[in-house]
Symmetry: C2
Subunit: 303 residues, 2 copies
Amino acid sequence: MATIAVVGAGLIGASWTALLTWKGYDVAVYDPSPTASGRLDAVTAKAWSALRQIEGAPATPGARRLCATVAEAVDGADLVIEAGPEALEAKQALIAEIDAACAEEVPIASSTTAHKPSDLQKGARRNPARVIVAHPFNPPHLIPLVEIVPSPATAPDVTDRVRAFFDGIGKTTILVKREATGHIANRLAAALYREAVHLVAEGIASVEDVDKAVTAGPGLRWSVMGPHMLYHLGGGAGGYRGYLDHLGPAQERRWADLGAPSLTPEVKDALVDGVRAEADGRTLSELENERDAALIALLKARG
Amino acid sequence: MATIAVVGAGLIGASWTALLTWKGYDVAVYDPSPTASGRLDAVTAKAWSALRQIEGAPATPGARRLCATVAEAVDGADLVIEAGPEALEAKQALIAEIDAACAEEVPIASSTTAHKPSDLQKGARRNPARVIVAHPFNPPHLIPLVEIVPSPATAPDVTDRVRAFFDGIGKTTILVKREATGHIANRLAAALYREAVHLVAEGIASVEDVDKAVTAGPGLRWSVMGPHMLYHLGGGAGGYRGYLDHLGPAQERRWADLGAPSLTPEVKDALVDGVRAEADGRTLSELENERDAALIALLKARG
């Protein structure tokens, strides 16, 4: 695969474009917005600066071409990344247009967070078997994870080629074996977040202390190893079996005690007030810069 | 506070001892086990090597003294850290012994994971108001988090002094405002783990891919910022309010779809088999070294 089409140049599409040109791919972009070109420039400048800090100089960057139509962007592409608006009908319409215009064997990888590939395939009348989800984490040029989600109707060969492509550009891919709302990582994030909301809603801890509990505690370890492996190492000489036999009952007791909050107006107020206290005067843009600088330092340390 | 008593020198107590001597405190340790001295030596060597990598050379290390009785260890101490066996009756008995032997104003901070301070206070007939939980994350010499959990009967002055002590040795303390099973961080970890088990139990993803989803995705960000602040930055110009108004409903839909697994024998087998595949021949000790080296690199990068 040498030429990639990116359809939709919002934050995700623009970040993909920046990463792919950095990695030496020629990228044909379609986005109907009059501000797409400026956004691509801005996101590319920021992303390349981050990538330079992490990886050093790029080999030979690829070329970016902003196209006037979907058909022009996908013409000659070896892979199409769909990164349009998140509404299902909009995605289906876009995929229909891509499917009609581009060569029949070319995979269409959607960046969707919310939708299942089997729903997206309804847009592709010509070759639904080439539609798959390849869901990145924001921003895709920094966060390694890409969730590969085929539907039962996705051709195995498409799954293999798309996964190999993202592996090849240095992403960490995982395979979602069965479609699920939120794929995998956002389900895990939602589970953590539900309890993070519960603890504030019930007055057990402040927003700031819940956030600190994560970053100074288990979140540190989760950037190093996942929960299963960590408990394998928490079981003494007996490993994961020992952990489950001895501490599994304590986990089940904790599970039974977890909260199930609702985002009522009162809870939302408590969350917003708590984040305001935690931000302590720092603007969104200052906080974003802190987050990105810390992520870059971390990715550099991981090598 | 210049002299600290550590009662119980298992992994947690030995790690506290190593950290405190590194920080220049004299530490009086009590542990009835004949292997305590060797364990203290081994844990100290490992911990000091890690701390040297993160912080450089120590100022002037404190002295360690292994005592024959609880009374000897707590005599003259400014703070007692209770790190005995986790069973409630054992902790209550130990706290009774500490409470009877040491000066009445000295705080007793328990490292308990599972128990509430109000239950531990039942062991302290003389001065229950000085009993508090100060729960570290394993290993305490590396992980910054200490959860400070007073009961309603804990003296506010004890809470303040204990929190200031742990802040002063560079830990990140949070205040648990109301006692809860698992305090805060282990509740958050249990929430994530429940879904991590569900995804494997339902065949949605392999153990290895669930772990990768965390370390290559949200886990990376959780070592940098907590979930509340991350969503504040995920709401565009509207901040957390904008996030909750626009994406709150999607979170609530995900919450409704999260799993509630049980650790049945079949699920345990799937978890153990999955971790074996993920370990791919690496021994527990090799994996532990990988975890610790990565944690040290990360803590160094955070500065």
